[in-house]
């Protein structure tokens, strides 16, 4: 019997096993081919991008692309933490709007930096409400965040029915300025990704977050404050969404109260493309980063080709289904 090809482990033929172990040591906590599928998808997306249009690799387009992905990047980062705990946060879109209108509305009165701090703070408060209802009162994340999605959106409209434009002269600075080749907002996003990578991989509450999605009971019995860890996840999600709102409004120059509707879908999609499993049990900051890039590139390419936004939605949906199918098959 040719045992080397007949025996399979984790879905990969055994004669690839040593290569896999070399390239993707199970030490990273992963060790399965599909955990790295996002890298392949990324390469494919770049290939298609280069072949499909000459404009893709121009400096202007790349700058544009990196500006576009920042807000989804930050929202996805928060979403990832919540998904790792086995939950989901549907209220991110409304919190984006909250962060947006607050930062635009307050910057006239208190200055830009304090306005952004206020946006982050109220984003965090919304996240705290989510976290308390999920962790303390043991309600389903889907329902809790669906409710706060409506509540926060309501507050946004109470705050302003009409679009807000800040009269502060430096209001658009954050969204428009660059540091060398990179937009400042992109740098902020990269720093956030790095911090969350450290949090998830190198700190006790971060490791606990990852573990909770796998076996909440075991983590609790190991003497970890599970409630506090879950609440922290939702607070972080709220803060990142608030930040995304402030940055988005600074880029657009106007704060619509209807901003951010359906943003939760792109964020969940980026996490899933990056290898996260809804309900917990997989995913990380690096994967999500690639997920955000891939999704951003798909949008960008379709835009460059002048594809109608309705078709864009169809194509994105298909990509998500494909990503989930690939993961689901494996589980």
């Amino acid at each position: 019997m040719p045992t080397d090809i007949s025996t399979k482990e984790n879905g990969a033929p055994a004669h690839f096993a040593h290569l896999r172990e070399k390239w993707f040591p199970s030490g990273s906590g992963h060790g399965r081919w599909l955990d790295y599928a996002f890298i392949g998808a990324f390469v494919v997306a770049i290939g298609i991008g280069t072949l499909a249009t000459e404009v893709f690799f121009t400096e202007a387009n790349i700058k544009n692309l990196s500006r576009q992905i920042v807000s989804n990047g930050l929202i996805s980062l928060g979403m990832l933490i919540v998904i790792l705990t086995g939950g989901v946060d549907l209220s991110v879109g409304s919190i984006v709007a909250l962060g947006g209108v607050l930062s635009a509305g307050m910057s006239d009165k208190v200055g830009i930096i304090p306005a952004i701090v206020i946006a982050l703070f109220f984003g965090g408060v919304a996240g705290l409400v989510n976290g308390v209802f999920v962790a303390r009162f043991k309600l389903q994340p889907f329902i809790v965040t669906l409710a706060t999605m409506g509540i926060v959106r309501g507050f946004v409209f109470v705050y302003t029915e009409t679009p807000l434009v800040s009269r502060h002269p430096d209001f658009r600075f954050l969204g428009a300025s660059s540091l060398g080749p990179l937009p400042v907002t992109m740098i902020i996003m990269l720093v956030c990704f790095a911090l969350i990578w450290i949090f998830l991989n190198r700190t006790p509450p971060g490791r606990a977050t990852v573990a909770i999605g796998g076996n909440k009971e075991a983590v609790w019995l190991a003497g970890i404050n599970v409630q506090r860890t879950i609440i922290l996840a939702y607070v972080l999600s709220g803060v990142f969404s608030g930040l995304a709102g402030a940055i988005l409004v600074s880029r657009l120059g106007i704060a619509q109260p209807s901003l951010g509707i359906a943003y939760e879908l792109d964020a969940i999609a980026a996490c899933v493309i990056g290898g996260a499993i809804l309900g917990g049990g997989g995913g990380g900051a690096i994967g999500t980063f690639f997920g955000v890039l891939i999704l951003g590139m798909i949008n960008n390419l379709l835009n460059l080709h002048g594809v109608q936004s309705y078709y864009q939605e169809i194509i994105k949906g298909a990509v998500i289904l494909f990503a989930v199918l690939a993961r689901g098959r494996e589980r």
Binding site: P25, S26, G27, S28, G29, G31, I198, R202, T203, P204, R207, A208, V210, A211, G214, N215, E217, A218, V219, W220, L221, A222, G223, I224, N225, G281, G282
Partner: protein
């Protein structure tokens, strides 16, 4: 029909006409032999009791019959025909029904829906349920069972435990099964209800239904069973007629085994008291439990499933809040509100089901061991990788975890190594008191030996150990003292010299006069 013929001929040659025959049934769970070449047979119109200690293989045997579990080897014949029962659906189609120990009902649906769920009466239009008809039929079934007082329209979640049990039985009977399996049906029934149940069983017998009755309560077995089969360590010891035997000899059949594990000797020298419980109670689970554990002492806690032993341990560990009573650790009264509090006070607990609540399967050995020990390996809120590695690596070496790569995902390890990972997690916590709930369940013999040596080493090092186990040889071989619980009460206490399999089991099952106390 040559197939059938052959089956019949074989039956005739064996001189038996049993409806159910299970031949050479073997089953291995991750290295634990649950059943070894069991030949079991029973006839229609018979109440056949299956008895044995926890883990003797009773449940596995009937699960193989229902199709919930696949045997590794062996054959099942029904009415002489060999049958492949690969899943529960096939079992049900062949007329095999089981009433589970923990009733499997849909709590928020009505009694009617639960009982006739698979066969709703419809009106002329399909998909259009005829509710009056459904309720009437359910009422009929309940009357046949002899329990008329249950409202068929109320939702199951609003019924008492015993009423739910009755609904479970009614559900099984509704389909007129050939074989009805009852796993500890009496556990939640009152004396009165039990009489009804027995009347029902006798009625079913007349309709030539084969009833397999699993119970720990030998009194019931003697009252209702026509034959009794005894299982022990996965081997069928024998089938006897209750008229020709008595409880004593039945117990002897259940426990009379050879000790195949070697229990290391350990000089017993108990030091100062580590743990003492005074009148600890948890409503609905156990009452007025008092005992103590000293430094360097291994105290065994034995009891049948449902005796409350795990709940006592969970209270000590803060995973459950006792309704009254006192827990003292090294003389100090503590009241752990969570496992976190208990761990800080110096108590660690290995829980009985490592998959359910001991491990995070998709994470590495490193992550799993770290979970209870972050304080040891972090500085300013950041994990110190080198310290984490050296701590865990040395524990992994000490416990001989295979493979010795701490980055391996726990999911890929064998049962024995998984258990060692859980042990490593708790050993690193350096507690004063270690509670071990079924530390060797689903673990191979070699690892068992290692775990026993480890426990002894810890005791010699001065740790107090509370060992909960269903495995009699383990309790007898490891404990300095054995406590026995029955139905939420402390039923007896035995010193190592006094403890024998017979008197422990008798005490746990409540057969003899109450055992001598302290």
């Amino acid at each position: 029909m040559p197939f059938e013929l052959k089956g019949n001929m074989e039956l005739n040659r064996m001189g038996a006409t049993e409806y159910l025959m299970m031949r050479g049934i073997s089953k291995n769970y991750d290295g634990t032999q649950a059943l070894r070449k069991v030949d079991f047979s029973a006839s229609s119109g018979e109440v056949h009791a299956i008895v044995g200690e926890n883990g003797a293989g009773k449940s596995t045997l009937v699960k193989i019959l229902t199709g919930a579990v696949q045997a590794d080897a062996g054959q099942i014949l029904l009415n002489g025909k060999p049958r492949e029962i690969n899943n529960p659906l096939i079992g049900q189609r062949l007329g095999i029904r089981m009433v589970h120990q923990h009733v499997s009902l849909v709590p928020h649906l009505t009694v009617t829906e639960n009982i006739v769920i698979g066969d709703m009466p419809t009106r002329k239009l399909k998909w259009w349920i005829s509710w009056p008809e459904a309720h009437r039929r359910t009422q009929e079934i309940l009357e046949e069972v002899g329990f008329r007082r249950i409202n068929v329209r109320s939702s199951v979640s609003r019924l008492s435990a015993s009423q739910q049990q009755i609904v479970g039985i009614a559900k099984a009977i509704a389909v007129k099964p050939q074989i009805l399996i009852m796993d500890e049906p009496s556990a939640v029934l009152s004396q009165e209800e039990l009489k009804h149940l027995f009347a029902l069983i006798r009625k079913l017998k007349e309709k030539s239904v084969l009833i397999l009755y699993i119970s720990h309560r030998l009194d019931e077995v003697f009252e209702i069973a026509d034959r009794v089969t005894v299982l022990k360590d996965g081997i069928l010891v024998g089938t006897v007629n209750p008229q020709e035997t008595d409880k004593r000899s039945l117990i002897k059949m259940m426990v009379g085994r050879t000790l195949d594990e070697v229990f290391p000797d350990r000089a017993f020298g108990a030091g100062a008291e580590v743990l003492s419980l005074k009148g600890l109670s948890l409503e609905g689970s156990f009452e007025n439990i008092s005992f103590s554990v000293a430094q360097g002492e291994v105290v065994g806690l034995y009891g049948l499933i449902g005796s409350g032993r795990t709940e006592v341990a969970r209270c000590i560990f803060g995973a459950e809040q006792p309704t009254s009573g006192e827990i003292r650790l090294s003389g100090q009264t503590i009241r752990p509100g969570s496992p976190r509090d208990a761990l800080k006070a110096g108590i660690a607990m290995l829980t009985e089901d490592r998959i359910r609540d001991g491990l995070v399967l998709f994470l590495s050995i490193r992550d799993n061991v770290s979970l209870a020990n972050f304080e040891l390996m972090s500085r300013w809120g950041i994990l110190r990788r080198s310290r984490q590695n050296s701590l865990i690596q040395s524990k992994a070496q000490e416990l001989n975890i295979r493979p010795p790569n701490i980055d391996r995902l726990v999911r890929t390890l064998s049962g024995g190594n998984q258990q060692k990972v859980v042990l490593a997690k708790w050993l690193l916590a350096r507690s004063k008191l270690l509670i071990l709930d079924e530390p060797t369940r689903g673990v191979d013999v070699a690892t068992k030996q290692e775990i026993y040596n480890l426990i002894n080493g810890l005791a010699i090092g001065g740790m107090g150990i509370l060992l909960i186990s269903s495995e009699m040889p383990e309790i007898l071989g490891m404990s300095d003292r054995v406590l026995v619980m029955r139905e939420g009460q402390m039923a007896g206490e035995f010193l190592r010299q006094q403890a024998t399999e017979q008197n422990l089991l008798a005490c746990a099952a409540g057969i003899t006069e109450k055992s001598r106390g302290e």
